[in-house]
């Protein structure tokens, strides 16, 4: 009954809440600090582009300009198509910097702004005196957080991709688009998972920023490398990345991504299939929304 009510009312309620939340997130000073930090590697990429320009030579094949490393490059790279090497730089920087560092910080910050700041400003109390259900209060904020985080990280990934792949020319950019799509998919899954988790923390605790960082450090950084990593989001993101690269015939190993566990003297592969990983993350995200809504329902002011 409640779900059908929510669906019927979504046209009038959903849009204004989502729009306002996105506006607040984009106008937040911390968001812009994160965007500036995100742009720094892009500047480094531009510097690398100008530096490495004289290490390439072009060959025209079937009307396409294909760039290769020339004799000025490291001897291991000479003769190799540039895009086949620098795509690894893109994956590396996306995985370590965008997904595992800024992405998590952004989710913590967004969830805190969407929930905790509204507690502080007491606007949530006014919302609680209107005939809107706790699930609606949480759900539309969640949607706004996911849209915002995904958009910012996806655009950043696109910018990184273009800057890093510039040395490989238009052909290289076209050739490795699958890698960009894979990163964007992971950023989407990450937004769905982390916004839910940090909204949950914001609803139940008064210091969500601090607790979010603790969760990230203890759970996602330490547990994710161990034998019980399937209870972390990082495991599923790494699994999707690993399988994606494997399917693109990259030479990758599960241990490079920490997707193994030790059992005696043996190591066991823990990689989760991408579809299973997506389903698990999605179910976990829905659970966090539901538990957050319950927390909001019971919260007293």
């Amino acid at each position: 009954m409640e779900i059908s009510d929510i669906l019927n009312r979504s046209k009038n309620l959903g849009m204004p809440i989502v729009k306002d939340c996105i506006y607040r997130l984009l106008m937040n000073k911390l968001t812009w600090i994160l965007i500036l930090i995100l742009l720094l590697p892009g500047l480094l990429g531009l510097w690398a582009y100008t530096n490495d320009k004289d290490e390439r030579q072009v060959q025209k094949i079937d009307g396409e300009n294909i760039y290769y490393y020339n004799d000025n490059a490291n001897f291991e790279l000479v003769g190799l198509p540039i895009h086949e090497n620098i795509r690894e730089n893109f994956i590396e920087i996306s995985n370590v910097f965008v997904i595992k560092f800024i992405g998590v910080l952004m989710a913590i910050m967004f969830a805190s702004e969407l929930i905790n700041e509204e507690f502080n400003r007491k606007t949530i109390q006014i919302l609680r005196t209107t005939p809107i259900s706790p699930l609606e209060i949480i759900f539309y904020r969640y949607i706004a957080g996911v849209i915002c985080m995904f958009s910012l990280l996806a655009v950043t990934s696109l910018i990184y991709y273009l800057i890093i792949m510039m040395n490989a020319g238009f052909y290289g950019i076209k050739e490795e688009l699958d890698v960009l799509v894979l990163v964007i998919k992971i950023v989407m899954i990450e937004s769905i998972a982390y916004i839910g988790i940090f909204i949950l923390i914001s609803v139940y605790f008064d210091r969500p920023f601090f607790l979010g960082i603790i969760y990230w450090m203890l759970w996602e950084m330490i547990v994710s490398g161990g034998n019980y990593q399937q209870i972390t989001v990082s495991h599923y993101l790494d699994s999707i990345l690993f399988k994606g690269l494997e399917n693109m015939n990259w030479d990758v190993l599960a241990e490079d991504f920490g997707l193994i566990k030790t059992a005696g003297n043996n190591t066991v592969n823990l990689v989760t299939e991408p579809l299973t990983a997506v389903i698990i993350v999605f179910i976990a995200a829905m659970a966090t929304i539901w538990i957050s809504a319950k927390g909001m329902e019971k919260r007293q002011f």
Partner: protein, 314 residues
Amino acid sequence: MSEVILENVTKNYGNVQGISNISVEIKPGLTGILGPNGAGKSTMMKMVLGLSRPSIGHVSVMGNDPFTNWKQRNKIGFVPEYDCFYEHMSGLDYVAYFLQMHNYTLQEANEMARVSLAELGLEDAMDRKIRTYSRGMRQKTKVARAAVFNPDIFVLDEPFQGADPTTRHLLMMKMKQWADEGKTIMISSHILHDIENLTDQIILINNGKMLASGNRHEIRNLMNNIPRQIHVTPIKNTNLRKLAKRLLDESWVRATRIDKENDELIIETDSAETFYLELPRIIKKEKIEVKRINSEDDSLDSLYTKLVGGAQWK
């Protein structure tokens, strides 16, 4: 029929007691809830709004538990004591935004919000960002948001706070109009004068306990018999002694004291009402010009002291 019923309601915040064993029925019309800051007025209102639930006892609004029945919140308009704005919105956007929470379309919400804000004199300011609003304008915006969907019950927590005399008058007119329409209005204040012009029904609370409830005249009579200090500052400080001596001839003056540091006369009276009636006549006759008359509104505190300390309330 009572719209709002509190039965033996106690609310604890950890070891701190918010309100204690309050039972009251609030009927349609205006009911003033009086008490100093921290008395428990806001706690009581939060429970009526469903923002908080009693530790002991039961709250019923239109026959339902307000904490769990969120659907009936479209019948309750709330003006909080505190600011609760999305500062980046205009007044119009803010009121329309909350109307959309009541499932109105954007177009309907904008039209209704425009009418409600205009009724409260904000037609020229409604398109400006709230962050540029004065306190009075903010107060009006809160009232517009609470009234725009025509609720049956109003919960108004210190609605006159920060309001200039014009705004205060306008808000009072609105409240009287709602009461005439048969709505139930709970209005809290720590100033008796705000309430006594509006309603006869008053609930007095202090330290989380209900001290008295009923007709304002009975409560007002209690207040008039409580000693009260009033500060009078003549333009010429040479008139201080003359005025002090003259006032001591009056039976309703208990004592006078000259405060040389502030050039003012502190008068203790048993009857504030008589004082305010008689003082103009006396200073006119004595040709004393006065630049300021000031009374810290401690009369409620005095009344509470009397009520709590008096045998009949023990």
